[in-house]
Structures are given as structure tokens and as C-alpha cells.
Amino acid sequence: MTVVDTRGPRETRAADGASRRPRRGAMRRSAARLGWGFASPALLLVFAVMIFPIGFSIAMSFSNVNVTGSGFQLNGFTGNNYSILFHSARYIHDLEFTAIYTVVTVTVEMILGTLIALVLERLTHARAWLMALLLLPWALITVVSAQLWSYIYNGVYGVFDAIMNAVGVHNLNVLGTPTQAAVAMGVADVWKTTPFVAIMVLAGLVMLPGEVVEAARIDGANGWQTFWKVRLPLLRPALAVAVMFRILQAFGLFDLPYVLTGGGPGTSTESLALLGYKVLFNDVLFGPGAAIAASTAFIVLVVCLLFLKVFRTQVGEQED
């Protein structure tokens, strides 16, 4: 806050001087200075509160961290925190779980989301209403949705069990059985985030050039062929962005297992972020905890860079 206050008047003066000078090079330079003046409060804050901690987290993951009641110390360089992780069956399991969970839920969400977008596109009257409805799960607090699904899946009086009983499946203990708990969590996730995917894909669909689809139809392609051969390839950039957003969100999965399953039964639905949180704040092991957090971030970073690369080339192809 104070950063803005002290910077504001000075920048105004500098730029007022600039606007009176007619020379182009000087104007450009002062415009650049103005740009940094405008951008630096935000960038400095992001640096101090996001980038510096990320770096600090990496430093922590390579140190013996000594946390006491009042402070903390980093003592010496060590690779120990990582070797603990890579020899820990629990870490390996959680890594696998997070990766599989991400791939499966994102795949289901992309397919369902695209189908819903196609329905929305063809809908004539009620489209605005349905889109408004779709925005509600997206804006719902994840913790609330987790409580809601834990109520639905409740082993004693949950409505899911009541429905399954009615169709003849008895004695389910959904949240008490590893695979079922993971699937149940995936369903809750799909319910909350598919609308987000659908709206992103719909935006892509609306922006497609109508003439191309029309031309394909005139050439005798049916609806199915036009979709697979013409519209889907054109839709790829929009789909790629949605996939990237979702992969990164899903990989940081925390709120849903924290409330819905607590990572259980056992550690069967424990995500990397949840493990990191437990190690950091329940076991107060900041070295290994930082290593879990940093390794999660590293994986996300690699996936992100790969996607940016693929996405860039796709956009390039389109512009040609």
C-alpha cells in the first residue's frame, strides 16, 4: 500500500516532463521508465510474496531446517530431504496417486466438458440460464462441495447408499474402501470442475470460423465428420489451454481430500499437496516438507513449460 503512495507523485512529475518534450527517443525512454513505475509495485509484491518464498522453499528443501517455538534456522547443504522422499513408499504412492488422479479426472472432464459445450452451442432459448447454473459449482467453495459430497457418501445415512440400496447394491462403504474412495473423490471433482471446462470449450467453439464448417457441410460431410475432421482440430488451442489449467489445478489437489477423505482410508487418497501439508504442519518437518512442496512445484513447472511450448507451436500453425 505504502509503495503506491510514495511512488505515485514522483512518477507523475517525471512523466509530465516527458509529455512536454517532443524528442522521440527520450519520450520512449521515459515511457519505459513510466511503465516500470506503474508495474513495479505489483511486480515487487508478487516477487516478495510468491517468487522469493518459492526460492526460499527450494533452499529449505536442501537444508537441515531447525524450527523452534520462536524462530527457524537453515543449517548447511544436504540432499537428505530428497533421499528420504525417494525411499519413502508413502511419497511414491502419493506421487502415483496424484498423477493418475490428475490424468483420469482431467480426461473425463475434457470429454464431458466438450459434450456439454456442444449441447450449449445448439441450445436456443435456455442457454443463458444453463450457463448461469454451470457457473455455480465453479464458484462454490471447494470445502463446501467436499462437505456436501461427504454427506452424500455417508456410510450410514448418505443418499448415495440409499439410491444404491434401491437398485439392489447393499453394504457399500464408499469412503472406507481405497479404490471406491478415490473414484468417489473423482466424481466430486468432475461435478465441480466440468462446468469450467465446458464454458472454456464453448468460447472456443463460438470463435471458430463459420465458413469452414459451412464449406465442409457443402462438400457433403455429415455432422459427425465435420466435428471430428474440421471443428475438433480447429478447437485444439482452446482445448490445450483448458487442459493446462486443469492439470495444474488438479496436481495441486488439497481442499477436497483434506475434508472429504483426510487422505484415507490409510493414505490411499492422499495427494502430494496433502502429504506436504501433513509433513510440514502436523509433523513439523520443514526440510522434507519443503522437498515435497518443491518437487510438486517442479513437476508442475515442467508440465507447464511443455504445454506452453506445444501450445505456442499450435498457435503458430494457425496463424500461417
Binding site: A32, F52, L140, D255
Partner: protein, 274 residues
């Protein structure tokens, strides 16, 4: 003609299925919030004995009122700060000749998608050092930094779409740069500011892991932390939880429905300009 009608029928049935898929769990939550403690365990679709006691309970027997106040303070301050800092940064990154703009934008995009667990531990230690755990300012500062990158992206995309002639005529009229941004550019970019505002508010209202780590004392809990930690060791007071949830959802639902267009354009901001 008949074929077209059949096609429409198929679309409408599919749309109904989608609506049911989204709405039924939400209905179940609201219905449960009106069920008495006896009926909460029943699978009755309509509460047999309609009661509003859960709503009173959330505010009197639990400190839900405090959580609402905390969430409002944190979300409003965060949104204000993000918009005031983000507008100038977004404008600069869209319009002014700075070096390394692409690198900055790429870095901001990646940071906005980073798993929060990566920053939570150092933030906790650093804020503990300066005594800002269990405070408003610690959480507001963290949220502002957390949500700025995405807001800058949205705002920049909107600024890119404003004709340059506007600024030039303002400059000819002798307006200074801050005045130009506030008086000339901002009104043009208002839809973008709304979009960024709605996104920031929703993100601050729903964020969990940072709030859980930094502000876990009952006095400073926000709504998500309060709802996650509701109840005792042995029973989960679902009626109260869902009454609180329904109250927590109301402002967001209104916001999202009123600014529907802004939200949709924000969701697609990434797709519009990569």
C-alpha cells in the same frame, strides 16, 4: 422439418440432464440445511419438518458470524488492492515500451498456476517471524500477491483491445499519465476491471490452504476454514454446516449471476490471447 424437431428434442433432453447433474447436489445441500436434526439422516427429497433452526444455530452456537466478517474483510481488501495495483501493472504491460514484457507475462502466468503448497511453508515461517500469523494484514498481503498475476493477465488483455487514439488525444489535452489511466483508459476497460474483480473476489472467498495455515485461530478463521473445521470429534453437524454453506454461497451466487458475462469472458481470457 420432423428431423430438425427431433434434433432439438435431443438437445433439450441433453440440456436437462446437464442441468440435473449440476443442480441436484446443490439442491440436496439446500434441502439438508432446512432439515431438523432428526431428519438430517433421512433420504427424504423434501424436508419432512421444515426448520430454519440450523441457520440460527450457525450464528449463535458456532462463530459463523465471525467467519463471515473475516471473509468479507479479507476478500474486499484483497480485491481493492489487486485491482489498484493490477490496473497500473496491466496497463504498463499492455501499452508501454518495456523490455522483457513477454518474459514477465509468461512468469506471471506460471506463478498464477503454481500449486500453493509450494509457498505456504516459507510464508508461514516468514510471517511468524514478524508476528503476522492470525492477522488480517498477513492474509490480505498473501492473497494480493497470490491473485495479482491472473488479474494482471485479464486486465492486460482488456487494455490491449482499447484503441490507442484515446490515450494520444488525452496526452494532447495535457493530461498526465496517471490521470490518463484513471480518467480515459479505466472507463474503457471497465468490463475487464469487473472481470478481474469478480475473479479475485471469488478466489479470495473460496481459498483454503493459505487461510488454514496462516489464520487458524478461531477469531481469524475465514468461511472455508470455519466450514472445514466445523463440529466436534464425533459428530458432523451437517445441518449447521449446510446452513452456513448456503449463506456463504449467496453473495458469490449473486455476484456470479449478475456479472455472468464478465465471468465467462474471464474464464476464456487465456483462450483469447495465448
Amino acid at each position: 422439418m420432423a428431423r430438425r424437431r427431433r434434433k432439438n428434442l435431443g438437445t433439450n433432453i441433453a440440456a436437462l440432464l446437464v442441468a440435473a447433474f449440476v443442480a441436484l447436489p446443490l439442491y440436496w445441500m439446500v434441502a439438508a440445511s432446512f432439515k431438523s436434526p432428526v431428519d438430517i439422516t433421512s433420504a427424504a427429497a423434501v424436508p419432512p419438518h421444515l426448520t430454519t433452526s440450523n441457520y440460527g444455530n450457525a450464528f449463535t452456537n458456532y462463530s459463523f458470524g465471525t467467519y463471515v466478517r473475516n471473509s468479507v474483510i479479507v476478500a474486499v481488501c484483497t480485491t481493492g488492492l489487486v485491482l489498484s495495483l493490477g490496473t497500473f501493472a496491466g496497463y504498463a504491460l499492455a501499452r508501454l515500451p518495456m523490455r522483457g514484457k513477454t518474459a514477465i507475462m509468461t512468469a506471471l502466468l506460471m506463478i498464477s498456476l503454481f500449486p500453493t503448497i509450494a509457498v505456504v511453508a516459507p510464508l508461514y515461517l516468514l510471517l511468524r517471524d514478524i508476528g503476522w500469523l492470525n492477522s488480517y494484514q498477513g492474509l490480505i498481503l498473501s492473497y494480493t500477491a497470490l491473485m495479482l498475476p491472473f488479474a494482471i493477465w485479464i486486465l492486460r488483455n482488456f487494455f490491449l483491445g482499447i484503441p490507442k487514439a484515446m490515450e494520444e488525444s488525452a496526452r494532447v489535452d495535457g493530461a498526465g499519465p496517471i490521470r490518463t489511466v484513471v480518467r480515459v483508459i479505466l472507463p474503457q476497460a471497465l468490463p475487464g476491471v469487473f472481470t478481474a474483480g469478480v475473479f479475485t473476489f471469488v478466489a479470495a472467498w473460496t481459498e483454503f490452504i493459505v487461510a488454514l495455515t496462516l489464520d487458524n485461530e478461531d477469531r481469524y478463521r475465514t468461511i472455508p476454514v470455519g466450514i472445514a473445521l466445523f463440529g466436534g470429534q464425533f459428530t458432523i453437524p451437517y445441518g449447521t454446516i449446510f446452513a452456513a454453506s448456503a449463506v456463504a454461497m449467496l453473495p458469490i451466487a449473486i455476484l456470479v449471476l449478475v456479472f455472468r458475462k464478465a465471468v465467462v469472458s474471464g474464464l476464456t481470457a487465456g483462450a483469447v490471447k495465448g
